[in-house]
């Protein structure tokens, strides 16, 4: 079977999607319910910790507080042109999240044949976890 794969050379993969959790409103939060497909791969506590950390990071990105209000007010005074040259608070946290996911993949998920996809690549809809079933596993890309 030729590999038409996009980002990974592994063939036998299935995906699990962790959906968003909306009970707190529209803020970005993912469900911490442990999917059954991962039972044989990783322990529940580890998984929950990853998702919870992600949720905390997103909460930090969207946090309303003195600092963000100040930023918003100053931006409005410049007719928001300041967004063109400055990195917003949200973007800074997104970079942090990307680093965290990369780190988690390298240390915890790849050795178990799993791969976390950064939710921003899926429009913050889901956390996509790819499960590789090939024995000759390399590090997931």
């Amino acid at each position: 079977i030729n590999t038409y794969r996009t980002s990974s050379n592994q063939l036998c993969s299935s995906k699990v999607f962790i959906q968003r959790h909306y009970s707190s409103g529209t803020i970005c939060k993912f469900q911490t319910k442990f999917p059954s497909e991962l039972e044989s791969r990783i322990d529940e506590q580890q998984f929950e910790e990853t998702i919870q950390t992600l949720n905390n990071l997103y909460a930090e990105a969207e946090k309303l507080g003195g600092k963000s209000y100040l930023e918003g007010c100053l931006a409005s005074l410049t007719a928001y042109t300041i967004f063109l040259c400055m990195e917003t608070h949200y973007e800074k946290v997104l970079k942090k999240i990307a680093r965290y996911i990369k780190d988690q993949n390298e240390k915890i998920y790849a050795p178990r044949g799993l791969l976390l996809t950064d939710p921003i690549e899926r429009g913050l809809r889901v956390v996509e976890i790819t499960i590789f079933e090939d024995r000759s596993i390399g590090s997931g890309r």
């Binding site: 590999t3 038409y4 794969r5 063939l11 999607f17 969207e62 928001y80 913050l124």
Partner: protein, 387 residues
Amino acid sequence: MKNCEYQQIDPQALPTPTPTPQPHHGNDTEKKKEPRRPRRKWEVFPGKNRFYCDGRIIVARQSGVLPLTLGLILVTSGLFFIFDCPFLVKHLTSCIPVIGGVLFVFVLITLLQTSFTDPGILPRATPDEAADIEKQIDNTGNTSYRPPPRTKEVLINQQVVKLKYCFTCKMFRPPRTSHCSLCDNCVERFDHHCPWVGNCVGKRNYRFFYTFIVSLSFLTAFIFGCVTTHLALRAQGGKGLVFALQESPGRYPLVICFFSVWSILGLSGFHTYLVASNLTTNEDIKGSWSGKSGEDVTNPYSHKNIFINCCSVLCAPMPPSLIDRRGFLPADESAQTGSADIELPTLAAKSEINVVGAAFALQKSPSPVETSLPAVAPTQHLSAACC
């Protein structure tokens, strides 16, 4: 799992004769046969939007009356500066063109930002996600012949909110998200589609929109006041009001402003109310939280405090654009979308490869590949032979 190894597709085995084997990833790197420049994601964007400056600027396909809006603002302000300002500077104060200038710049910048910013478009679900959701919906044990329910109920701040499934974007819409038929996109915190600015107003550009209409109200009122003063002073100067009106082309701003100031002021007032109660135009029009159905419904998103509501709507951290317009498509997909071969759908349909890549590429680029895209069902990828 021996059969998880790579197997080359034998081109001869395919019914459609392929003159050259597909020069894709995998083992051969025959990319040199098809030197395609890497494509950016905006080029294959499925919604009805147009992009300029290599994806930096996004507008709705129908620009609506944006040129008219711009024209009115420019002409009115231009006439004001040319005909009224000199008189007023001479007779009153030179602050007038300064204030007018600042307001004018503010209005223009916020208008362009409202029009050219991604309002909060949600990218469509990938085929894998869509298949997963379909599976979940079907698994709800629906045994009747009716189609399975396409709504999901969630509890937000003790308020039941129904999430609808979007058939175009293949996902359950997050709360406050609505699908704009003009732009063919799901937009977060959808307020309305504004023809005056030629774009949807949603989560990301609402603050620009609000600043635009508020500063436009000030500008319109300011010009109206100045022109009235101008004409009044001229009329006093001797010859009467009628002559003053006939004499100066500065009267045109008066007419335009007179007719528009009420509606713009009204709109600003309405949106100020919406901001203070953390509502969207969409919710207000539909009466989602007004309790007209008799139930005790309250807006679950309101912070119950006007100041906090205003801050959360206008001064919250600016959310990022989720559609990543300027990101590059992965090289294999851009090669696939670029090749526009008729064999593509056949190949994808016949071979039991992981069609995710192909399906994604095919779905994302309806224009180059004109053959029957729906032939590639998202479930095909699950029949990957190895597993």
